[in-house]
Amino acid sequence: MSDDVIGQLLQRLTTSQTQTEAGATLAQAAQGGREPLYNFAFIDEDSKREVRRKLLKGVALPGHLVPFASRDLPIARGWGTGGLQVTLALVEPRDVIKVIDQGDDDSVNAVNLRRLIQKTTGIAFTTDTTRATVLQSRHRIPEERLRADQILVLQVPMADPLRWVEPNIERATEMHAEADYGHMWVYMYESVVRSGDMNIASEYPVIVEKRYMMDTTPIPRYDVGRLHMAEMLTLFGAGREKRVYAVPPYTHIVPLEFEDYPFTTEHDPSKHCDKCGANDTYLTSYFVESPTPEGAGCWTYLCSDTSYCEKRTRVRGQRVTMEAS
């Protein structure tokens, strides 16, 4: 990288940091000129190229686990280092990034990952799903449909869907190579016998393009169907497990199911978000304390995708104002 590019980056870094109050605190925290110590997007260029090469292999073999030399990051293993390496390997100065955790832009870990990306790149961030070029997420696919010009990066804890039935990697790799998924089908059958249905809450296994069995990461079942024939490229990064994999646009994603026990999601149209009123989003329950001290409080539902919920709430508010005027 030439000196003037570095100069520009450093300039971007300093200007973007002084823009906000939080940024000012960050600049303060980072004083002592630490940033110039690090390459753009932290990881060195050769390592980034390696990640991209492995991602290309993943795109060429949808759903196939590709080993990569996962670098140690200043974020702990298991906290999103795989997704982060994918994002850092892809990011360019003109990108606009969105980072969410549980669908929430302001969740502590999302904030932390964003901080590292900001500290080492100085690029622009957004909470608006439609504006982002790269979206890094843990446990959710944003509600708003992603487009062909967007890349979704999912953080992966376990990587291999066969781990439940075959913890030995050497044997599991052979099973994938031979598309030998009998153990998993037996596991599914047993869960039906024991609990009346597929006893899998998240990390639901799917078959990609009729070939590889893939772990969908701990997204809820509600999100699994939204990977099927999706327009965006989805990249999966498992830092501790040192694997990447990919679902290219318009890929067949079929969740494991039996003819008489079809795949179902958590979606219950009778429940709706207490804030924006949506009954077609993924909801999580919250305890709302009573406004009066003697009241008991109650459980309620809210959209897990906070930025979409806010967007809807704003539109609803405007509509109400328009009707009133």
């Binding site: 110590l37 670098r71 050497e170 998240s202």
Partner: protein, 408 residues
């Protein structure tokens, strides 16, 4: 409204960071200098360098200061920093025989070439708390140093390079040679685990790298379990040495070895008898194996700094894994004989990171869990109701018969 709890992530994270700093310095005593840590908490520095897999005593001391002495956290800081350092060159293999030793012992023979050298060890110290240390001052340490230095000038002879004890065993022909494949691997470039994901079966160079940066506590557990009863390792300490070894690289133009510095390391060789004739080996197999005599197999341990427990644990684990591989019995001699199990769980930074990640919010997945739980509960309730109904029907049917029996 109660929505406030899920917001304010940025502020909370920044405040938490400030609080950590506050708790680190709030005692109001003089701040510890990095050089004090480096010189007076040597073993903590060594552990951080070993598990952080970066030989940088000054940075390790800084990491310990920053992490308030937390060994895992300090090595994590070094490990993350290591990612940012370019990998220019692999050093040439370091020959342990060229070590400038501080300490060197063997449990195999009483008389070893150049003799045993106890060196700085706590092994034979009575572990009594030394209350005098609470009154230690720079004047008292200076006086002590002067006393020691006076001794040195009178009695010292310069230390030589000690030949390795296992070389003696090799000469006697009682040490088994490594398998051919391993020798070929050793001649090739090392399998660099920072550049290549670990795949299984792993070559020995990958295994040794993983162990060298492993968590000492975890390694001790594995090694101890295999010698205590969950495995059949019966190791003897071939040699344990601590000292400085020169690090050399090949000159980019001439290819000649150029010394670029030296590092303090602990090196260990454990030997244990190689199971020669397997009980289930057929006569034909035994004949095919030829007239080879039973020998000792070697386990190797090496780590940065002075850490004997780690180097010895590593050597035991290496021996157990080699033996398991040679006999094709993965995991049958206890968990330590299972290469995947050991190598994938021994890294303290990975293990602590993933274990700690359960502190992260799991709202989405837990909600999904609840939905599955509700479904399962409904299924069980239905099943139980059906069973009870059946049971009642059965009782209703059997009752009249019993009454009938009484009449007879």
């Amino acid at each position: 409204m109660g929505y406030v709890a899920v917001k304010g992530g940025t502020e909370a994270v920044l405040n938490a960071e400030q609080l950590v700093e506050y708790f680190r310095v709030k005692g109001e005593s003089e701040p510890i200098s990095v050089v004090q840590i480096q010189e007076q908490l040597r073993l903590a520095v060594d552990r951080a360098m070993g598990e952080g897999a970066l030989y940088a005593p000054e940075l390790a001391a800084l990491a310990l200061k920053q992490s308030e002495g937390d060994a895992l956290e300090a090595s994590f800081l070094l490990r993350a920093y290591r990612s940012t350092v370019p990998r220019i060159e692999y050093s040439l293999p370091v020959a342990g025989a060229r070590m400038r030793p501080l300490r060197r012992i063997s449990a195999t023979f009483k008389d070893i070439p150049e003799g045993q050298l106890l060196g700085p060890t706590r092994d034979y110290q009575l572990r009594l708390l030394n209350t005098l240390l609470t009154h230690e001052s720079s004047a008292s340490t200076r006086a002590y140093l002067a006393q020691i230095e006076a001794k040195i000038t009178d009695e010292t002879k310069p230390l030589v390079n000690f030949p390795k004890v296992i070389e003696k065993m090799r000469e006697q022909g009682i040490l088994a040679e490594p398998p051919e494949q391993e020798k070929a691997d050793a001649d090739a470039d090392p399998y660099d685990i920072t550049r290549k994901a670990l795949t299984f079966p792993a070559p020995r160079s990958a295994r040794l790298q993983v162990l060298a940066q492993g968590d000492v506590g975890g390694m001790l557990t594995f090694a101890y379990s295999s010698v205590r009863g969950y495995g059949d390792a019966h190791p003897t300490l071939g040699e344990l040495r601590v000292g400085h070894v020169p690090v050399e690289v090949a000159h980019p133009v001439t290819g000649e070895a150029v010394e670029i510095g030296e590092i303090l390391v602990t090196e260990c060789e454990m030997v244990s008898r190689v199971q020669s004739a397997d009980a289930d080996e057929s006569h034909a197999q035994r004949v095919a194996r030829g007239p080879e005599q039973p020998k000792f197999g070697l386990g190797y341990g090496f780590c940065f700094g002075h850490s004997e427990v780690k180097a010895m644990s590593m050597a035991i684990i290496d021996r157990v894994l080699s033996a398991a591989k040679e006999h094709g019995v993965h995991g049958e001699g206890g968990p330590t004989a299972n290469e995947e199990f050991v190598l994938l769980h021994i890294d303290g930074i990975e293990a602590s990171g993933f274990t700690a990640h359960f502190k992260l919010p799991h709202y989405v997945t837990f909600q999904a869990d609840i939905s599955v739980l509700e479904r399962t509960r409904a299924f069980h309730a239905e099943k139980f109701a059906a069973v009870r109904e059946q049971g009642q029907a059965k009782t209703a049917r059997t009752e009249p018969e019993e009454k009938g029996a009484e009449h007879v």
